[in-house]
Amino acid sequence: MPSCQTRSPAESAVDSVANLAGILLGGLSAGTVLFIVSVGLSVTMGLMGFVNLAHGAFAMFGGYVIVLAMNRAQFGFPVAIVLGFVATAALSIVLERTLYRRLYRAGELDQVLFTIGLVFIFIAGITIVVGPGSQTLQLPPALGGQLNLGFIQYRTYSIFLIVVGVAIVLGIWLAFERTRIGAEIRATVDNRRMAESLGIDVDRLFTITFAFGSGMAALGGGLGAEFLGLDPQYALKYLVYFLIAVSVGGLGSVVGVYCASLIIGVLDFVLTLYLPKGGTIFIYVLTILILLARPQGLFGRKGL
């Protein structure tokens, strides 16, 4: 810790950089969590045009699976992650095939009602099965502690998150650009009728994308548990943030939701530090301004 005596300009500068870097890293890791949860929502909404307010509930469900797998069943971190992803994806496939499917052609209001109803069911279900308290994620020792980055020491876990986020966005982007299914998704987002008439099995695409998106949400719920917390209200508490990330980023745009999430993460981090009471108002104002100027979001192409 620096002493109270005068410090050289160089030391102060290094300190400020370190401060800045610390804030930046904190915001980026928060934003990454937001991204990992929201990316599935962005893709499914861009692809299916379906207002899925229950997305946060899937994140919550997956988070619970991961955390409970580690805490109660003593599974290792990687195993728990995979378990969370798979379990949530499987659940979402079941729900998609039986229920969501019936509402694809329904109006926005019905979709809103249905998914809010699902959220309530999830929340009540988790409260009944697990209990109303919040769960904590025990970080594996490898990810605990601090990492020395040269000019700053920062929490290993936060760095880990940022790296994972970059890997995911690159991975998804590559999948979209290089794989066949990615091409099919892009085509369907662009023009669904055309895609259907080209022989693309749009129904199967929906299911796969929905499953993947929910799995990613689960991942985000679990990975972000120690930062966002995990309790039965999770599904509703952060819903507005997920929706903001998706709509500001632009539906169907992975790059868009990534940028929007990082911006929100950094902004929120900064605001919590310097304007703890009600700083989030700026996020809302910014969202309103952006959506008014560009209703389709920063990277969105067609109208919502």
Binding site: M45, V51, L99, R102, L103, R105, A106, G107, E108, L109, D110, Q111, V112, L113, F114, I116, G117, L118, V119, F120, I121, F122, I123, A124, G125, T127, I128, L236, V240, L243, I244, S247, L251, K277, G278, T280, I281, Y284, V285, T287, I288, L291, L292, P295, Q296, G303, L304
Partner: protein, 354 residues
Amino acid sequence: MSVAMPSSGDASFAARIDNPAARALMRRHRVRWWEALPWAAALVFFFAFPDYLSFGNELLVVILFALSLDLALGYAGIITLGHAAFFGAGAYTVGMLAFYGVWSEPITSLAIAAAAAGAVGMLSGLVLLRTSGLTLLMLTLCTQALLEEAANMGHDWTGGFDGLLSLSFTPVFGLFEFNPLYPTTQYLLTLGVLFACFVFVRTLVYSPFGQSLTGIRENLLRMHAVGSPVRWRLVVCYAISAAIAGVAGGLWAQNNAYVNLSALDLDRAATVLIVLILGGYGRLYGAFIGAVVYMALEHFLAQIYPTAWQLGLGLLLVLIALFARNGILGLGDALWQRYRGSLPWRFRARRAAP
């Protein structure tokens, strides 16, 4: 506004007007006998259940709030999860005026609340109603969240999370005092205000303005193509809806003698939406039925098993979205259609899913 005299010869005019379609249109706004029932029931409740008047108060406020949402959602087709913004605007207007001793006459306070909330509605409508669909939904959510945060930030004036307590109001008409233990004055005031607002909304719905709102909802592009200033109509409707929501908020503040952030939160907005959908939107009386059913269920179930109430509510919503999107009144229509043939003229079928 006088009605123009018939043009061509009286005989042919009379013959044309005699057409069943014309007669139906001319009669549609007439008051039917059963429309007196809700008010009679409310008065009976007043005399029969004097110990439950605060519950009755709450119910009446929810009805008014849901009625305001019906204007926006059911008649203008604006899907909003942010209507609590206006409820809260009205509540805080009344609350702050009373708390700081600026103005505490109840009826005029409500008028001021309506003006304040209406202004917020007009302003946000002008800006937001340029968008539609998910963007609009997001913007209504953000506006509401913004107001909530602002109220939180301004905790020096608004009391922040705890709110403003122990509000006191001058007696109604100088005669009838507010008594927190026996809310008879509050109940009758709320009922009176609800009645006045309902008459206003009902008139609006059957007016040419209301007809144009129906047209906008039925086919937006066609309304543009008949020269209708669509956006302006929607903004005005939204502003009126906001004003009435503000009155509901003001009544809520008066009835509870406090106001806090819960007036502005997502929970309140979601609840009023559920109430309206449950009863049936676009039907005027859906607000009444939805509120009664919802509050009765909540009163009995939530006290006993709060988690089960949430589970049940979730299931109910899922079922409504899948099978009964027009709510209880919609189900009533369906039953009527099944057993009595076609619907009576005045009940319009909901537009089928787009």
